[in-house]
């Protein structure tokens, strides 16, 4: 059924351009005007005037048919008679403004009476403008053109809004996809980290890890290298995010036990770092790694270690003073020709070895003061009588309190290894 049929006399006369206002704009679509008036003579007369001005006119004979025509045709301009049986002009205006799809329609109320009170009521009920039935040809043309300009602007804004909505939906979908992929990558990275617990008999291990973005460039590992030794390392890829994470995984692959046996032929930390220095030069953007590698001989509790620009290993001794296990050394790739030497340290039962990234002690306070290695060391030492898990957790909390935030500006890793009281099993070398 035609939505504007029935009592209304609706027709869509072919456009007939007889006046000049639209001359020169033939390439543009002819504006469509819906004329709603129950008085047939007035309607035909006004329709004729509009058609002679070059507009395409559709007609409706009452408010209900007019509203249906607005929904069906979405005209550029609606000219409504005030007085109509059933739904009068102001009521149609209200219905249009209440409809989310139609509310931006341009509506002009047409009346024989243009008293100020009537104009005020019409405007308050949703009309955009008024047109007197007795208006001259010039006034009709001027008001219609003004209303069509407004209509064109509103349509343009609506198109822009729709474009923005579409772009926003597209971007949101892409963002969700990207975040999902990043989360998968972050899960993969986290899966590379060791399980807290006992990596070897007589040794316990706990850690905390918080990348500054979804993906971090800090990685660490503690795993058995043969039956009597424990391999430990912590690496820091410069930069943050995906690129740093990918490079970190590449170095982590190099540091796998089976690869070290092939690529280095030794588990000596100095030899490992020297080979890594040769294989991982500075990138063209100046990206690089710092690395600390340790090898703990379990029967003798002797730790050998080597570092490339990484200063984050602290030996917290139960008996003596704590000791930072690092030496001034270049990061990987700064000078591919140099060799790195191993140093050694002797661990005693219940000594703790902490591997950590610089992100924790370089946490700035709200005033910009860095937390510093001294405060970090003092915090770790204050937890001597607490469990390793408590020590790690509380130290992270203290660092966050210093920072005044939960999110560190750099990747943060803090790993603790404790040599237990129980004697290490004496296994024969194979």
């Amino acid at each position: 059924m035609n939505p504007v049929s029935g009592a209304a006399d609706v027709s869509e006369p072919a456009p007939r351009i007889v006046d000049k206002p639209l001359t020169g704009k033939a390439a543009e679509p002819v504006p469509v005007i819906l004329l709603v008036d129950d008085d047939e003579i007035t309607r035909i007369s006004m329709a004729g005037r509009l058609k002679r001005l070059g507009y395409r006119v559709i007609e409706a004979g009452d408010g209900v048919a007019g509203l249906a025509a607005i929904r069906a045709q979405r005209p550029d301009l609606v000219i409504l008679d005030w007085m109509m049986p059933g739904l009068d002009g102001p009521s149609v205006c209200e219905a249009v403004r209440a409809d989310g799809e139609l509310r931006s329609s341009q509506v002009v109320l047409m009346t024989a009476h243009d008293q100020p009170e009537q104009i005020a009521e019409g405007l308050s009920r949703g009309a955009d403008d008024f047109l007197s039935k007795a208006a001259s040809k010039q006034e009709v043309l001027a008001r219609v053109q003004a209303s069509l300009r407004s209509s064109a602007l509103v349509r343009e804004i609506e198109r822009t809004r729709d474009d923005l909505d579409r772009s926003h939906r597209l971007l949101s979908a892409k963002q969700a996809e990207l975040e999902s992929e990043l989360q998968s990558a972050a899960d993969f990275m986290r899966a590379q980290l060791p399980l807290p617990g006992m990596p070897a008999p007589g040794v316990s291990m706990q850690w905390a890890y918080q990348p500054s973005l979804a993906l971090g460039g800090d990685l660490f590992q503690v795993s058995a290298w043969g039956s009597e030794t424990l391999g430990l390392y912590i690496l820091d890829a410069s930069g943050h995010g995906v690129a740093a994470a990918l490079r970190a995984v590449a170095l982590m692959s190099f540091l796998r036990e089976d690869n070290l046996a092939k690529a280095v032929g030794s588990f000596d930390p100095g030899a490992i770092v020297t080979e890594a220095n040769r294989r991982f030069p500075l990138t063209q953007d100046g990206e690089y790694f710092t690395l600390w590698v340790g090898r703990l001989h379990l029967p003798s509790r002797t730790l050998s270690y080597a570092a490339a620009g990484h200063s984050g290993a602290l030996l917290h001794s139960l008996q003596g003073a704590s000791q930072w296990l690092s030496s001034a050394s270049l990061p990987l790739g700064f000078d591919p020709t140099i060799a790195f030497d191993s140093a050694t340290a002797q661990l005693q039962p219940r000594d703790r070895l902490y591997l950590l990234s610089d992100g924790i002690y370089e946490a700035p306070s709200p005033t910009g003061e860095l937390w510093g290695r001294d405060r970090l060391q003092a915090t770790l030492e204050s937890h001597r009588t607490h469990t390793l898990a408590h020590s790690i957790g509380d130290t992270m909390t203290t660092a966050r309190q210093w920072l005044g935030d939960d999110i560190f500006p750099d990747d943060v890793a803090l790993l603790g290894v404790e040599v237990l009281d129980s004697p290490c099993p004496a296994k024969e070398k194979s």
């Binding site: 820091d236 500075l282 953007d285 100046g286 620009g309 270049l330 700064f334 000078d335 860095l370």
Partner: protein
């Protein structure tokens, strides 16, 4: 970051002020490239006004040392302060980038063989 270029004889001194970080490494690299294009073989980075250096900037400086050394040429750091000095020392950067305490020393460093 503010960068002012001064030419003294065959050397170029870049007076750096502010923070040398990942975020502003582009203008720094552009300033260095302009010096290089101008035929500079001896570059002195005046670090006195640099209050912060991040890990990315360390890599940029190392890359600079490698590329100037290959030219051949020479880059030196002049008068790094407090935190920057500590970072340079911790990273052992002075092994590949000589550090000078005065401009005269730095300019005289031009005559020394490039750091390897």
């Amino acid at each position: 970051m503010q960068i002012i270029e001064r030419r003294i004889g065959q050397s170029v001194i870049l007076d750096l002020t502010g923070e040398l970080t990942y975020a502003n490494r582009a203008p720094f690299k552009a300033a260095v490239e302009r010096c290089r294009q101008g035929g500079c073989r001896h570059l002195i980075l005046n670090m006195q006004g640099v209050r912060f250096l991040d890990s990315s900037a360390l890599g940029t400086l190392a890359l600079l040392a490698q590329s100037f050394s290959a030219t051949p040429g020479m880059v030196g750091l002049l008068n790094p302060q407090s935190y920057v000095k500590e970072i340079v020392t911790l990273a052992n950067l002075h092994q590949i980038l000589p550090v000078y305490q005065s401009e005269q020393e730095a300019l005289a460093g031009r005559c020394l063989p490039a750091a390897g």
